[in-house]
Structures are given as structure tokens and as C-alpha cells.
């Protein structure tokens, strides 16, 4: 059997290739019901990371994936222009922005329900492999309390690093801290 190819860092120059204009728009801007996720990427000294790349992957509002391994199959009709995937490089101030639809809850094979979430990958110079985290929604308290992944994190303060914060303008803020006191929870995926 062939053996796995190891990961290497994305390095400082990925912006030559990886960002594309529609990347941050999981749905086109202005789509009814769209939510905007904003945040900044920080290092262990609390400084912003201006050369990172954020990628998101998520279900549609009905909790389904247009993918052959979702045993329920795609939603009839689907959601116009919804790609499920977002990609945004961080700006000089460490910020990123993703426009998407809020995903639905997801059934797990053991009968539990996963609260609405996005899987988030972070790539950067200085990261020899991507790191993976999850973003959950602040208006889903009951669902979050029953979510098997959130429940696997014992300390409330650590769990809180995965839940976005509502902004006055209606956006959701999801800051990502690679290292330090308020370090985001990352996953072995």
C-alpha cells in the first residue's frame, strides 16, 4: 500500500496562488439570511498574523452536504450559490472575513446531534501542518450544551474559545489564537 505524503508549511508566499476572489463568499454577498464571520488570527505573543490562511467547511442550512458520503444525499434543490467551502487569507491586521449561511444541526451515527458548526483549518508560515478548530454559534445554547464535541472539552473557558461572539453590527466574531493563555482549542482530525 502507498504510504502517506507528509505535510509541509504553506510558507509565506501562498497568496500567489491560493486566494481567489470569490473564496471568502460561501454564498454571494447579499444572499438573504447570510451571516458574516469576522475574526483575527493571533500568535503566542498576542501579535496579529498577517500571512495566514483560513478555510471553512460546513453543511447547508438543512444540515446536509452535497457530497456522496452524506448518506441522506443532497437536499432537493439545494441552496443557490452555496459552496460549503470558504477561503480567506488574513490581512495585514490579521483579519479575515467569511460570508456564509448558518448550517443546520447534524445527526451523528450514534444518535447524538452535533450543534451547527464550521470546521476551520488554519495554515500559515510557521505551521508545519494545518491546525483544525471548530466554530459554533452563540445563539445555539441548548444545542451547544448537547454537542458531543463541545461536551468532550471539560473546561468551560476552553470550550468558550470555539463559540463565536455576536458583534453589534450583526456579524459573528471568531478570533483564533494559535498559542497562549486564551489559546483556541485545536483538534486531532
Amino acid at each position: 500500500m502507498p504510504e502517506l505524503t507528509p505535510s509541509q508549511t504553506v510558507g509565506p508566499y501562498f497568496a500567489m496562488r491560493l486566494p481567489w476572489p470569490q473564496g471568502p463568499f460561501v454564498v454571494p454577498e447579499g444572499t438573504p439570511g447570510a451571516v458574516t464571520i469576522v475574526g483575527r488570527l493571533y500568535d503566542g505573543a498576542g501579535e496579529v498574523i498577517p500571512d495566514g490562511l483560513i478555510e471553512t467547511w460546513q453543511a447547508g442550512p438543512d444540515g446536509r452536504f452535497a457530497h456522496p458520503d452524506d448518506p441522506r444525499g443532497p437536499a432537493p434543490g439545494g441552496y443557490h450559490g452555496f459552496r460549503g467551502f470558504g477561503r480567506c487569507p488574513t490581512a495585514p491586521d490579521g483579519s479575515y472575513r467569511i460570508v456564509t449561511l448558518k448550517p443546520g444541526p447534524l445527526p451523528a451515527p450514534d444518535g447524538s446531534i452535533e450543534a451547527p458548526h464550521l470546521d476551520v483549518s488554519v495554515f500559515a508560515r510557521g505551521l508545519l501542518d494545518r491546525v483544525v478548530t471548530r466554530m459554533y454559534f452563540p445563539d445555539e445554547q441548548a444545542a451547544n450544551a448537547a454537542d458531543p464535541v463541545l461536551c468532550s472539552i471539560r473546561e468551560p473557558a476552553r470550550r468558550a474559545t470555539l463559540i463565536a461572539v455576536p458583534e453589534p453590527e450583526g456579524e459573528l466574531r471568531f478570533d483564533i489564537r494559535l498559542q497562549g493563555e486564551d489559546e483556541t482549542v485545536f483538534f486531532d482530525v
Binding site: 502507498p2 509541509q8 503566542g44 500571512d51 451523528a108 450514534d110 498559542q179 482530525v189
Partner: protein
């Protein structure tokens, strides 16, 4: 609502979700002292185990709308020919069960023959080539094959330590078919004297795994009077046994 969602997947037709191999000892550690930029950028907390459920076993299936056939030939993206040694880089994307990974997007970027990237934050005093952007894309065919035509990249200094030079390499970004399979890596060239000195290459702990980052020169692939051929397969995590719940 909640009950309906559960019933949709735990009803009479018991669904089977694949579960992907968890690599052990293949990928570099996130904290690697030889590569200075890891110091403030690696998580110190333990990585929490994320079971493979729907979000992890699915993934973006990005398709043809992103690319044109011209994206796979980095030597014909401008009016003139780029300077440097023309090369063909080809291979297959497979999973660790030996299955080809068809219809998956590959994105590449690299320095030009002089070791200069076309990027605003690049200050290495080597010339840009007006005929070379150093970026490519393609989608694997039904057998998982990909093929790029490009220019052999040069080495460049990177300031990590005294007299630090990166070995020649091409950056690869591959999606596979599931979130778990996503891979960003670098392809190196055989016989490069900088390889033993490079902290990024040597961050891969296992010698055999490290060697898998190096393409093979292939005289059969080499085209007479035109271009050298290199072959490099990319292996993503396999699905292993399907778990029935």
C-alpha cells in the same frame, strides 16, 4: 426538529460513514525548534480527538469552473517563454488504501529559475521573470493523474539562520474528497545538496517519510530536445474499513 434530524440518519437504513486513517509519525511536529517561525505559532494545549462524523468525511468538491487547461502549463502563461530549465512534473494522487483520487483540485506555486517568488513581501535580490508567474492549477483525471509543465525553481535564502537556503521546491495544495484528506506540502528534487541542511524538510521525523517528499527523475518521461521529467505521487489518508454503527 431534533428528532427528525436524528431519524434521518439513525432510522431503519443504518448509514455507514467512512472513517479515515489517523496518521502517526508522518507529519512534522507543530513545535520544531529548527524552524524559528514555529515558536510563537504552535498550539501548546493538547489536540483534542475529533471523531470523524459528517463534516469530516465530506469536503469541498471544487471543480472545473475554477480552472482552464492552460493553468497546468506554467511556461505558456505569457507572450514569451520563461527563463530556466523546462520540466514536466506528473504523478498520481492516491489514498493510503491504494485507490486513485480522481477529480480533485491541485494548486501549485513556486519560485522562478532565479529563486524569486512573484510576491509583494519577497525581497530576495534576484530578478523577476516577466514571463513567469509560478502558479498553476489542475484537476486529477479519472485515474488520479495530474501533470504540470513548468520551470525548475531556484533555491533562495530565507533568513531562518545564518546562510539559510531553501532547497528547490514546488508548493502543492490538494483537497482529496474529505475534510480529513486536505494536504498542503512541498515537492523537492532529487540530489539537492540543500536537503540535509533544511529545517522544514527535516521537520518530518521519519527518514522514509521524508524521502516521499522528493520527486523521482524519470528518463522515460523526459521529452527529447525539450524538457526533463519528474514523477511524484501524492498519498492522502485512506478510508480504511467502513464502520457500521
Amino acid at each position: 426538529m431534533t428528532t427528525d434530524v436524528a431519524a434521518s440518519i439513525t432510522g431503519r437504513r443504518r448509514p455507514a460513514l467512512p472513517s479515515y486513517e489517523r496518521p502517526s509519525g508522518v507529519h512534522p511536529p507543530l513545535d520544531f525548534a529548527g524552524y524559528r517561525s514555529t515558536e510563537r505559532r504552535h498550539p501548546r494545549g493538547p489536540l483534542m480527538l475529533l471523531p470523524h462524523r459528517l463534516t469530516e468525511v465530506t469536503g469541498p468538491l471544487l471543480g472545473e469552473e475554477l480552472i482552464t487547461p492552460a493553468d497546468a502549463d506554467l511556461t505558456t502563461q505569457h507572450a514569451g517563454e520563461p527563463v530556466g530549465q523546462r520540466i514536466i512534473v506528473t504523478g498520481r494522487v492516491l489514498d493510503s488504501d491504494g485507490r486513485p483520487v480522481p477529480d480533485t483540485l491541485i494548486e501549485i506555486w513556486q519560485a522562478n529559475a532565479a529563486g524569486r517568488y512573484r510576491h509583494a513581501r519577497e525581497h530576495h535580490p534576484a530578478p523577476l521573470d516577466p514571463n513567469f508567474d509560478g502558479i498553476g492549477r489542475c484537476i486529477t483525471d479519472s485515474a488520479g493523474r495530474y501533470r504540470f509543465v513548468t520551470i525548475a525553481p531556484g533555491s533562495y535564502p530565507w533568513g531562518n539562520h545564518h546562510n539559510a537556503w531553501r532547497p528547490a521546491h514546488i508548493h502543492f495544495s490538494v483537497f482529496g474528497h474529505a475534510f480529513t484528506q486536505r494536504l498542503v506540502t512541498q515537492m523537492y528534487f532529487p540530489g539537492d545538496p540543500l536537503l540535509p541542511l533544511d529545517p522544514i524538510f527535516n521537520s518530518v521525523p521519519d527518514e522514509k517519510a521524508r524521502q516521499r517528499l522528493i520527486a523521482g527523475f524519470d528518463i522515460e518521461l523526459t521529452q527529447p530536445e525539450w524538457a526533463l521529467g519528474y514523477r511524484w505521487d501524492i498519498v492522502l489518508r485512506g478510508r480504511g474499513a467502513t464502520v457500521f454503527q
